[in-house]
């Protein structure tokens, strides 16, 4: 996605073909653009309708050389087209260099292929370094048009902005009441909301719930809801715990007796691993919550009414543990669902309640609703 992740705040968009190249019959241009829009429609909730006059969200035009946007085209070859990220005015528009020979096949420059790429930009996708991806910047004249499909990289990118198509992948429609609750989108401001796990990630806070997570950036008031699978397809949903070790730029995700390590969008090779490799006794089947204190370089694991402490320097569980949570965090009620460290406090999440704990005063200083971080 573009820096700042610009995206359309609506799922129904309008487009207009402002003018035509003389290289192709008008209906060939119309169908190339329709086909290119359909590529994105099939994997997102987005829908498109065509305008024939006035200002549409996506204005599509053909031009040569200087054409009014300070990014002149350069004659045949080299730059084929360009487009702008979602937004008002010129944003969201796509321009095609009419000094190219636009064709329906690949004897010239295939209009459908380039249009599908440029429309990816108008929806908010940036270039991909995956050479198989439609959003790779260099045009591939050898693409087999009969077998064209988006790469997983393209699908991950667009779904990170808009989520999947309601029926994607094709699933038989089932009546609402039999849809298992975890596949529904969780209600952000439901006062009974509880979390499976919470972690920071490069300055943002991720609140995990079933198959989704809210992404809260300190720069933005509103949290954004995503599918876990749109960022990390191989991670489990309904996880138990998560924490970030900022010094390693890693987030560790726990479910059952396994854990994964992720760096940004990438799940690290060699995972999942068994939690007993960290030093837990066999009696521990899963952990409930975890937090890594970056100052002390200690990671706390909470299991029922006890907790363990792991030394990040020696990479080993410390002696003298487990200890009772009640002894060292008085006022914090087990079982702990998730833990967050912020502003010098520990925030313990248990069901729909959140206990703000002052580690210096060694006492709970405030009790809040769990979803108070989601700007409810």
């Amino acid at each position: 996605t573009f820096p700042g992740m610009p995206k359309w705040r609506k799922t129904h968009l309008t487009y207009r073909i402002v003018n035509y190249t003389l290289d192709l019959p008008k209906d060939a241009v119309d169908s190339a653009i329709e086909k290119a829009l359909k590529v994105w429609e099939e994997v997102t909730p987005l829908t498109f309708s065509r305008l024939y006059e006035g200002e549409a969200d996506i204005m599509i035009s053909f031009a040569v050389r200087e054409h009014g946007d300070f990014y002149p085209f350069d004659g045949p070859g080299k730059v084929l087209a360009h487009a702008y990220a979602p937004g008002p005015g010129i944003n969201g528009d796509a321009h095609f260099d009419d000094d190219e020979q636009w064709t329906k096949d690949t004897t010239g420059t295939n209009l459908f292929l380039v249009a599908a790429h440029e429309l990816g930009h108008t929806l908010g996708l940036f270039h991909s370094d995956n050479t198989e991806a439609l959003m790779y910047p260099v045009y591939n004249p050898l693409t087999d048009l009969t077998r064209f499909h988006l790469s997983q990289d393209d699908v991950n990118g667009i779904q990170s902005l808009y989520g999947p198509h309601p029926g994607y992948p094709e699933k038989p429609l089932v009546p609402k009441e039999t849809v298992p609750p975890e596949t529904e989108t969780p209600a952000t401001c439901d006062s009974a909301l509880s979390f499976d796990a919470i972690s920071t990630l490069r300055g943002e806070i991720l609140f995990f719930k079933d198959r989704h997570f809210w992404r809260k950036s300190l720069r933005k008031l509103e949290p954004e809801l995503y599918l876990i699978s749109s960022f990390w397809p191989s991670l489990p949903s309904g996880m138990d715990a998560a924490y970030e070790v900022t010094s390693k730029d890693l987030v560790f995700i726990f479910k059952g007796n396994q854990f994964w390590a992720i760096r940004g969008n990438e799940v690290q090779a060699g995972y999942p691993r068994g939690i007993h490799t960290l030093g837990f006794p066999p009696t521990v089947r899963k952990i409930d919550a975890a937090i890594s204190d970056k100052e002390k370089k200690k990671t706390y694991f909470f299991v029922e009414d006890k907790y363990w402490r792991f030394d990040e320097n020696s990479q080993s569980m410390e002696q003298g543990f487990p200890r009772l949570i009640a002894d060292d965090f008085p006022g914090v009620k087990p079982k702990v669902d998730a833990v967050l460290q912020a502003f010098g406090f520990f925030y313990f999440f248990s069901g729909s309640s959140q206990f703000e704990f002052d580690p210096n005063a060694r006492m709970v200083t405030n009790i809040l609703k769990s979803n108070s971080w989601l700007h409810c």
Partner: protein, 84 residues
């Protein structure tokens, strides 16, 4: 003549790489005064960034593979940063 010819080819290559890096990899135009040398560190770094992004061997040099990809038709949207 041969010397002139080689110098002209080198200049053409330098123009191509400079324009490409400025258009798509945020090579600052104000770096022009020392960008003329292809082994200056801003240019080498940007060549390596471009080679990595485009899936080429990261050599920092204008090898034939790199030049070939740079001459291919492409989208005008930058690969780093975006239209400003």
């Amino acid at each position: 003549y041969p010397l002139d010819r080689a110098a002209r080819d080198e200049d053409a290559r330098m123009d191509l790489v400079q324009q490409y890096l400025e258009n798509y990899y945020n090579l600052k135009k104000d770096a022009k005064q020392f960008v003329r040398r292809k082994d200056s560190s801003p240019v080498v770094k940007k060549i390596q960034e471009m080679q990595k992004f485009l899936g080429l061997e990261v050599t920092g040099k204008l090898d034939s593979d790199t030049l070939e990809v740079m001459r291919k038709p492409r989208c005008g949207v930058p690969d780093v940063g975006h239209f400003n």
